[in-house]
Symmetry: none
Subunit: 253 residues, 2 copies
């Protein structure tokens, strides 16, 4: 099923969410995800540590027609790098987890994405590896989670289908939206990189004073801190303030 | 991505549209379509003249987990037979045609389907063979057409993806699930009093180390901190964590 006459190419420009595929295993699935995206006009794909390296001839073959998505793909070694310039991150997940984060339907997720992008924010949607899904560390980076309300007796969306449904919802939500957006005056949200650096500084300072103890709890304490920071919608000014707080509290007496 | 806790099996019953695959060529695509349907609780598939006959082992293998859809499939020699008991037919199409029929988005199509089914009507959605799409004869049987508003520069939904989007829209339209879901179990937001005590502790600790300097800026620095903490949606656990962070950073070396 292809384009209808009422959909004009000129409606398809403007800022978009970035689709980030973490640890994708099969090139075919990366290619199919590119096609799924481009069907609904999404162009910005990032790959984190794709299993078979990059470029991947199987991805290219499968993407035929959506090559422009793969041509522009950005590849990173880890999720933090891929999200460095992002200001809001949503993670797709199949399971309810014990994390205290909002869980959104694709509909609400793309509604929010549209609103955030209209404010000038940079939004990423994270997808995990084909079978396993995202790891807790990556989930912890997200401001909110997305779960497709599938049949409780049978949920088996593959990677490209999950990408397709999000891309479809993005398009559905934005089809009447003017492509040009305006930034809300005065609010300058922190990027993923800025949040990451704040997290690292906090962890380093806390490590120095023996906060992460006992050792077998250290990892989960770090995860809690990361979860907390990722869930708090910080501005650049907030991040500066918190750096100042840490600096003040840790300086020698 | 699988089911979220709030989606109860009991919500999934009741009359549904019938998905009619006309002249499907590859068994894999029939199986994948069955999976797509069952993800969103659709059970009623009909096949018109599948190219490789029926049953088809490749369809069965691909449908794994959604076998109940294939077990109940009805096979007909021609479209007229397949639609004999239907009262309203929609045909999916990629191209605008010279036929004077309404063209609906998936959203409007499933909205109408829901309304018709509530009136006791029997609704079918026709899908054509993988490459060619429906023939004019079959299009002519339809009361209305469905076209997915894909990128005018690139439309390449495969059969199972088209089925998936319609099934998803059916579910979206008929779900009673509140779209914005769940604070997940265990989310217990901090009260104003708890936030205030955290603020006071932070201010006291920072005051001790000479953070609020120069004095004529002190008041606005306090205000910034209070603003920031009040804007961050903290849980009780976040507040405890931040108390722990302050305690650790301020303890005597």
């Amino acid at each position: 099923m292809a384009g209808t006459d009422h959909a004009k190419a000129s409606e398809w420009g403007g800022p978009q969410p970035v689709m980030v595929l973490v640890g994708a295993q099969m090139g075919e699935n990366i290619g199919a995800s590119a096609r799924a995206m481009w069907n609904f006009g999404l162009e910005h794909m990032r790959l984190v540590a794709p299993r078979d390296g990059w470029p991947n001839p199987k991805a290219t073959a499968m993407a035929s027609g959506a090559a422009r998505v793969l041509d522009a793909v950005q590849v990173s070694g880890d999720t933090a790098d891929a999200l460095a310039d992002m200001t809001y991150v949503m993670a797709t997940t199949a399971r309810s987890r014990d994390l205290t984060k909002e869980v959104l339907t694709p509909e609400r997720a793309m509604e929010r994405t549209r609103a955030l992008i209209e404010q000038g924010q940079k939004v990423a949607v994270l997808f995990g590896p084909e079978r396993a899904g995202l790891e807790n560390d990556d989930i912890a980076r997200a401001d909110a989670l997305i779960s497709v309300p599938v049949n409780p007796a049978f949920g088996s969306l593959n990677l490209a289908q999950s990408v397709l449904l999000l891309a479809y919802e993005w398009r559905r939500q934005t089809s009447n939206v003017p492509a040009e957006v305006t930034k809300l005056a005065g609010t300058d949200f922190a990027t993923g990189l800025e949040a990451e650096k704040l997290y690292e500084r906090m962890v380093a300072s806390l490590d120095e004073v023996g906060f992460f103890w006992p050792e077998d709890k250290a990892e989960s304490m770090r995860l809690t801190l990361r979860n907390m920071l990722s869930r708090l919608p910080m501005t650049k000014a907030d991040v500066r303030t918190l750096h100042g707080v840490i600096r003040a509290l840790t300086k020698e007496r």
